[in-house]
C-alpha cells in the first residue's frame, strides 16, 4: 500500500500555547473504518482538525492519500469532514446548505442539484430539505451535516461524534451507511463515545488519552497486547460448572463466573493460546458439550476501560 492510499501522521504534535493537544503521534491508516477512542479532551478532535487543516501541527507531517490541506482544491474533493460543531450559517434551509457547499466545488448547478438531492435522500431528509435548519431537531441537524460531508462522494470521510443526537433507528441507518461506504473502499475516521455500536463496524481503533497515543490497530490484536489484564472468554455449554472446575484443576484460569442464564461460563486466562488448547482437549474428552466460544472483552469498551481506566466518554 502506497502513501497515496493511506492517512499518515508522522511524529505530529500540536500545542495550543502551553496546552498540549496531541504529542508525537504517528499513525498509518489504511482504508476501512478507524475509530478514535478517548475521554473528553484527549485529543481526538484535534487529530481530526489536524487531518483536515483546521488547525496546523506544531511539528510533524500529515498527509491524506498523499495530499495536504495546503492544496484545498484537490484535498477537499477527496475529503469530507462532519465536525461536531452544531452550527450553521443563519437562515439557510437544509437544501441550500448542501447545495451551496457543492457549488463551491466549481461543479455545474445541475450536478450540484443532483448530488444534493442524492445526499439528502440518502440521509432521509428529502421531505425536510426546504425547511430552515434552525427549525430542525438535533438529529436532523446531525444528518444534514452528514449529508453535506458525503454529498461530493469523497474518498475519506472524517466524522466527529456522528451518532450524537440520533435516535436508535437513525443510528442504525447511519452505521449501515458507514459500513456501506467502508465496503466501497473509503477511509472512515470516526470518533464516538457510543463504543459498542461503532465497534461493530470498526476495522481498527486508535486509543488516545491526554494527547498521547495509547494503542492502535485491529481491536483483537490490541486486546492481546494488553497482557496485564487476563482475557475473558464466554463458553456456552451444557455443564458450565464442570467446565470451570476442570479449568481450575488444570491450574489455568484465574477467574470464573457463571452466565446469568446458567447456560455458559465466563473464564479469565492469562494465556489465551494455551487456554484454547486445553479447551479443545476438554471438548475431545466429551465431558462437556460446548456450543459456542467467544471472547468477552476484546471489544472497544473493554479495552478502553483497561487502557484508559474510565467509562468511555468522548466529545
Amino acid at each position: 500500500m502506497t502513501t497515496n492510499d493511506l492517512i499518515l501522521f508522522e511524529d505530529v504534535s500540536k500545542f495550543y500555547g502551553e496546552v498540549l493537544g496531541v504529542n508525537r503521534v504517528s499513525l498509518s491508516l489504511p482504508p476501512g473504518v478507524t475509530t478514535l477512542v478517548g475521554p473528553n479532551g484527549s485529543g481526538k478532535s484535534t487529530l481530526m482538525n489536524l487531518m483536515t487543516g483546521l488547525v496546523q501541527p506544531s511539528s510533524g507531517r500529515i498527509s491524506v492519500l498523499g495530499m495536504t490541506p495546503g492544496d484545498p482544491n484537490a484535498f477537499f474533493r477527496e475529503v469530507g469532514y462532519c465536525t461536531q460543531f452544531d452550527s450553521f450559517p443563519r437562515g439557510l434551509t437544509g437544501w441550500e446548505f448542501v447545495f451551496d457547499s457543492l457549488l463551491l466545488h466549481g461543479m455545474s448547478g445541475m450536478d450540484a442539484h443532483r448530488l444534493a438531492s442524492e445526499a439528502l435522500a440518502r440521509l432521509g431528509l428529502t421531505d425536510a430539505a426546504y425547511r430552515k435548519i434552525a427549525g430542525y431537531s438535533k438529529g436532523m441537524r446531525q444528518k444534514v451535516r452528514l449529508a453535506q460531508a458525503v454529498a461530493h462522494h469523497p474518498r475519506v470521510l472524517v466524522l466527529d461524534e456522528p451518532l450524537n443526537g440520533l435516535d436508535p433507528m437513525a443510528r442504525a441507518e447511519s452505521l449501515a451507511l458507514f459500513e456501506e461506504l467502508s465496503r466501497q473502499g473509503m477511509h472512515l475516521v470516526i470518533s464516538s463515545h457510543i463504543l459498542d455500536e461503532v465497534d461493530r463496524i470498526s476495522d481498527r481503533v486508535v486509543l488516545i488519552t491526554g494527547g498521547y497515543l495509547v494503542a492502535q490497530g485491529d481491536i483483537h490484536a490490541v486486546r492481546r497486547e494488553v497482557r496485564d489484564k487476563p482475557m475473558q472468554v464466554l463458553i456456552r455449554c451444557d455443564r458450565p460448572e464442570l467446565l470451570a472446575s476442570r479449568m481450575f484443576t488444570l491450574n489455568h484460569c484465574v477467574e470464573a463466573r457463571l452466565h446469568a442464564d446458567g447456560g455458559g461460563v465466563f473464564l479469565r486466562t492469562t494465556d489465551i493460546d494455551e487456554f484454547y488448547r486445553l479447551l479443545n482437549g476438554i471438548a475431545t474428552e466429551g465431558l462437556v458439550n460446548i456450543e459456542a466460544v467467544a471472547p468477552a472483552d476484546d471489544d472497544t469498551q473493554a479495552i478502553y476501560q483497561y487502557l484508559i481506566g474510565s467509562e468511555g466518554g468522548a466529545s
Binding site: N49, Q56, F85, L104
Partner: protein
Amino acid sequence: MSALVDTLRQQPWTLWWIQAKRILRIEVRRNLLTWRAAWIYFLAFVPTAIILIHFLFDRHLQFSLADDTDILAAIVQFYYIRLGIFFGCLGIFSRLIRGEMIERSLHLYLLAPVRREVLLLAKFASGAISAVLLFGSAMVANFALMYASYGAAGQEYVFNGPGLGQIEAYLGVVVLGCIGYGAVFLLLSMMFRNPTPAAMLVLGWEAINPVMPSLLQKISVASYLKHLMPITVPGKGIFALLSVQTEPVSGWIATMGLLLLTAVVLAYSCIRIRTLEIRYTTE
C-alpha cells in the same frame, strides 16, 4: 520571470473565478438580507431621511443652492467618511471572518475545496459590493433629493453645471472609502477577537492624521479621500482638525495611493488567513 508567468498561467483561474462568484452570491445575500444589517442601513440612510424631511417641509430658495451644496459636501466629509462608512464597514467586514468564527460556521468554508486566499478576496469583494450598494445608493438619493427641491435651477446645476462631476466624485469617494476601510477592518477582525477597540484606535488615528508628518499621512484612508472631495468644507471648532489642509495631491495619485494601501493590507490578510486556525472554544 518567464517561470513566474508560466506558474501563473498554470493556475486554475477559471475555477477560482467560479468559486469567487459563488461565494460572492452567498455573502452579499448574508450581508444585506438580514435584520442584523438594519443598523448599517440606518447609518447609510439617516442623512437621506433628514434631507427628505427638508425636501418635504422646507421652502427652497435659489440663493440657498450654494449653501446646500456645501451642506452635502459636509455630510460626505464629516459624516459619511468619518462615521457612516467607517462604522458601516466595521459592521460588514468584521462579520465576514470574525463574525463567522463567533457563529461557529467559518469551518464550513475552510473545509470547501477553495483556496483560502480566494475565499478571503471573495469575502472582501462581497463586503465591498454590499457597502458600496448601501452607501452609494444613499449618496445618490441624498444628491437627488438635495437638488430636486430646486426644480429647474437644480436641474440646471446638475446637468449643465458641476453637479454630475460632484456626484461622480462622491461616488468615487464612497467606493474607495468602502474598499479602504473594508480592507483595514477585515484584517483587524482576523488579528483581534474583538476588533472594535482597534477600530476606535483607527478612528482616532484618522482624526489626528492630518496634523501628522507627510509620510504618516499616507497611512490613512481618510487623508486620501479628502483629496478626492470635489468641494472642501472648512471645518469649525473640533471639525477643524478633520479638515486640515495638507499638501495638495492630485486625484489619481490619491486614488492609486489608496488602492496600493488596500492591496498591501489585503496581501497581508491573505498571508494571515493561510495559517488561520479554527478554535471556536477561544472565541
